[in-house]
Symmetry: C2
Subunit: 218 residues, 2 copies
DNA sequence: CTATCGTTTAACAATTTTGTTAAACATAAA
DNA sequence: TTTATGTTTAACAAAATTGTTAAACGATAG
């Protein structure tokens, strides 16, 4: 029936567009620039996605859902609370290393088009709801000073996301190479855990959980 | 010599452009949109600022310098360390309420044009240097668990800035009104202090320092 | 009053960017 | 080989956006 030329033209466009938007931070990347990056004719972008806007929407929704699925899988697991959070940090930081500008993109897009915030960020179950019970237990047992679930989650994602967003700025400010910055972000995983729980990250947990690859969701 | 029609046309343009860029988050605001907002002819933007690019650069540099000056004044003051930090949080959050999208703007601009990061973010004295000595003392005296000055500062600004950046998202996600969100951010000042020092924000300090107005730098 | 000079405007030009379309292309089935 | 179908391309059209300019305007000095 259909021709399968190099078959995945649509996938290539999506991949390269994601790279431009979410990895390189070229929020204003032109359809031409996207086409160039993907090595295809610009008209194909309209053929597959109708408009630049729709391409963006598709990519955003996909990336957000992917990230949310990963995060939610951890938070709604049966693991002990602190292991959950440790894993959560790991996942968010790793995902942030993959798409450093995703958060920035969301913020900019929702500022320009407030209706989009609903389709993107409205969710039946909030992160804060997923950990509320755990958190209340921690607090009740005196292992954690009182804090609302909302503030707790926002502290967590602030500490994870901001340094990824501000990569260029921070890297330049402290004169770090790319490798040095990567190392810095790895170190931050422990720092974040510590800032949240006011105690060092237990070594054992992390070794066991996932050594190199973050491949759970597949 | 010169005509002083309504005199401050240039200032009005700057003010309204700042509002569009940094307050409303319209990162891609058109020269026409800026002109409309300022109630002037579009050509005046070129008359006063030569190009859209130069207008943006001017605004960015001004806002960054203003913010940095405020922050630096506190960090290099002779106040006790924890009061410094408390004040710092206050100033950053207040400035963030004024220009919620400034950070977002910096990130996007420096991603698109990496050379700008130098003129914007390169500074003789880094924030981390300003508090390094204090921090070492705190750690040496056992009042704070070991942490590098860089991580400490980044924790601090992450906790302050992120919730401002993500205003639209967070507000929608938790179904907060504007006033509720403002209240939420006010609460965060204490939450942040607590996350940093693992102890409640001392009440006394805050009452004394600056009651309503953040007017020190003038 | 009028000449001058900085300011403002409308109209224009150039460029960039998006979106459309008809034709060319390639593969698979008939 | 021919036909049909989905893919790709080049060329075109339309819109949006930036930047320029000559003329109009208005206050002030002379």
């Amino acid at each position: 029936m259909s021709t399968i030329p190099e078959a995945q033209t649509e996938a290539v466009i999506k991949e390269k567009a994601k790279s431009l938007f979410f990895q390189k931070g070229f929020l204003n990347a032109t359809t031409q620039e996207i086409a160039d990056e993907a090595g295809v004719n610009r008209a194909l972008i309209h053929y597959y996605f109708r408009s630049r806007e729709q391409l963006m929407d598709t990519l955003l929704e996909e990336a957000v859902n992917e990230k949310r699925a990963k995060a939610r899988a951890v938070l709604s697991s049966a693991l002990p609370f602190r292991e959950k959070i440790s894993l959560f940090i790991d996942i968010v930081v790793e995902y942030g290393l993959k798409y450093p500008y995703l958060e920035n993109f969301i913020i900019t897009e929702t500022a320009r088009n407030p209706e989009k915030v609903k389709v993107l960020c409205q969710t039946k179950v909030k992160s804060s709801d997923l950990i509320r019970k755990d958190l209340e237990e921690e607090i009740a047992s005196g292992r954690l000073l009182p804090i609302t679930a909302e503030h707790f989650v926002i502290n967590l994602i602030s500490l994870c996301n901001y340094p990824l967003l501000a990569k260029t700025v921070l890297q330049n400010m402290h004169g770090m190479s790319d490798t040095a910055y990567r190392k810095f972000l790895q170190d931050r995983k422990e720092i974040i855990y510590h800032a949240i729980f006011h105690e060092p990250l237990p070594r054992i947990t992390r070794k066991e959980e996932h050594h190199h690859h973050p491949k759970p969701a597949k």
